[in-house]
Subunit: 358 residues, 2 copies
């Protein structure tokens, strides 16, 4: 399927929307915010352009989008004298992203910035322009040398295509214990191709000394199968298999479904950056998130299910069609996650990278 | 009411959408396309930047939006050697505009441009970047000196506010025969204030020698009441009054509704451009459209009703609330338009202006 024209986080602000179900992503970004803030300030101080261009790649929609915009604008206006005269905030995501709901919040954002004295329109320090640039970041999105800072949180683990395991990865949606080596090789190759294209495109769009902060899902060791991300996809495979066994979906449809996702390890990322040669890797950190059980709330499994649903619904719906009940699927998935958590924690790993354009 | 947060053309592509009901606007733009094309080429040839910035102010959504984008890109790539290395197409409208539906058509647009050899991604001549910049054009929207060409079709007759005739313009939604002079003065003042702000903002955003093409509704003589635009608003007033007499809407609500619209005359426009002093008026033309009766089709009144509905529904719905049946209102309006057309033609006038940044 054409990922670029199908894949998107669930729009709007309903019960299954990404806006309502992206606490995990928010929490992870918050944990490393100090690094993001420090990096954007370094980028500005080493270039000092009149008009400072920031891109948020894979911005999605919902509170996380404008919350990071506010943080980045404030980082440039609060502690830096003089701040840039103009700040261009360039939001990017695929063309099917719900940009309308971001735009509807913009008047509030501008009011908030003016109140805080950060928007020059009311005599504050910088004039802020927010724009949207739809398209795949696996390719050019912005004019040459138009950016000074690139930010991307929870997007780079999404591959440009979903052709990795087709038909050879029977019953599984991601690399699993039972997957032949050709499956993991196909995923690795796709990741390398995509990441190289990402780096080359950003190298053209970024000014010299511009910085990138990339936050993404990764894996700790060399093994693809772990109690981090791969287990969650394994549980999704099992949930789909249960529905297939009940006759609710065709087995063939499950065999031909693969997530366009890849959790790279540190070495795979570093090798691409070195080979590309346009960026200096200034920082690489691994971080996990503590999983807290709040007994007053619904189960952890339900929370994970809603998060996964808000990012996977567009692709699952497209592939399996109306025959698939997403409610049933994620009820089963939530139960399987809870069962696993009762045995032992599931700990997805996250990476934050800081890169400097040479 | 806050025009910026309420007013928008009807989104999507349903029966009442602007996408389906903007033939009049399309036809008018087509009639003067040769002037638009010639002007953008002059703008490029007198500046010759590597990256050429085009803004479409009040772009709305639907086929008209991307049709003009295609025309403008082709004007820069077909007959000019060498064409600009990069073309930035910057779409602007209020934050409630349906940008999502434009974005969903972008992959097709890029494919079409690549096929025509105009997009450099496939070795063609120029790399095209389309972005959206939501906000009111009565104020800054774009970074300083970032544009070389500004286009605006059927937008500048919409004022930034709807406070003109409030309460003193009883039973009317626009300047009418019965309106006291204070009403037309309030409309004129608002137009002058808005147009001055428009010119000042664009002067900051455009490069020296950059050009603007502005297409808008105007009036021929000095009199505000004519068989052009004002008659259509008069018929809308009458339609609302009929509903009020039936008790379907409150009379007080009709008294407090005024359209944020103004059809300026040539003298009013020229005076503002002279006073502002940033632009040279290179061309000013008046044009009308022949109204053709296609007997195979539904009535002319119905066609006008659907056009007016697609641009006024957001404001009418917000002001009158759920009590107002838009179907009933525009059934009455269509009938009144047909009755008037049986007496004599209704001929709205249109202006096209070409301005050069000094």
């Amino acid at each position: 399927m054409n990922v670029e024209e199908v894949f998107h986080m669930n729009g709007g602000d309903g019960a299954n929307s990404y806006a309502k179900n992206s606490h995990f992503q928010k929490k992870a970004s918050e944990m490393v915010k100090h690094i993001t803030i420090q990096t954007i300030q370094q980028a500005y101080l080493s270039i000092r352009p009149n008009s400072f261009g920031i891109a948020d790649l894979g911005c999605s929609s919902g509170p996380n989008t404008l919350s990071i915009v506010t943080d980045l604008v404030e980082a440039l206006t609060r502690e830096i004298t003089p701040p840039p005269a103009e700040i261009r905030v360039c939001l990017n995501d695929l063309p099917t992203n719900d940009f309308n709901s971001i735009f509807r919040s913009l008047p509030d954002l501008y009011r908030q910035l003016r109140k805080a004295g950060t928007d020059g329109v009311a005599g504050g320090s910088s004039t802020v322009f927010v724009s949207a640039h739809p398209g795949s970041f696996y390719g050019r999105v912005f004019p040459t040398s138009s950016l000074q800072f690139v930010y991307s949180s929870y997007s780079l683990h999404w591959l440009s295509r979903d052709e990795q395991g087709k038909s050879i990865n029977k019953g599984k949606v991601y690399i699993a214990e039972s997957s032949p080596p050709s499956v993991s090789n196909a995923y690795i190759d796709q990741f390398k191709e995509d990441f190289a294209l990402f780096l080359r495109s950003r190298a053209e769009e970024l000014d010299a000394h511009g910085r990138m902060v990339l936050i993404l899902t990764g894996r700790i060791g060399h093994d693809h199968v772990d109690r981090g991300n791969s287990l969650l996809w394994e549980l999704l495979s099992r949930s789909l298999a249960i529905l297939a066994a009940q006759g609710a979906i065709e087995e063939g449809k499950l065999d031909s479904y693969d997530v366009h996702f890849y959790a790279p390890c540190r070495g795979e990322i570093e090798a691409e950056i070195r080979r590309d040669g346009w960026f200096q890797l200034e920082r690489f950190e691994t971080f996990g998130m503590e999983v807290k059980f709040d007994e007053a709330k619904e189960s952890f499994g339900r929370e994970v299910a809603r998060t996964v649903r808000s990012v996977q619904e567009s692709m699952l719906g497209h592939h399996f069609g109306e025959g698939l009940s997403l409610d049933s699927l994620f009820d089963i998935f939530a139960r399987l996650v809870d069962e696993e958590m009762a045995i032992q924690e599931i700990q997805p790993a996250n990476f934050i990278l800081v890169l400097r354009k040479l």
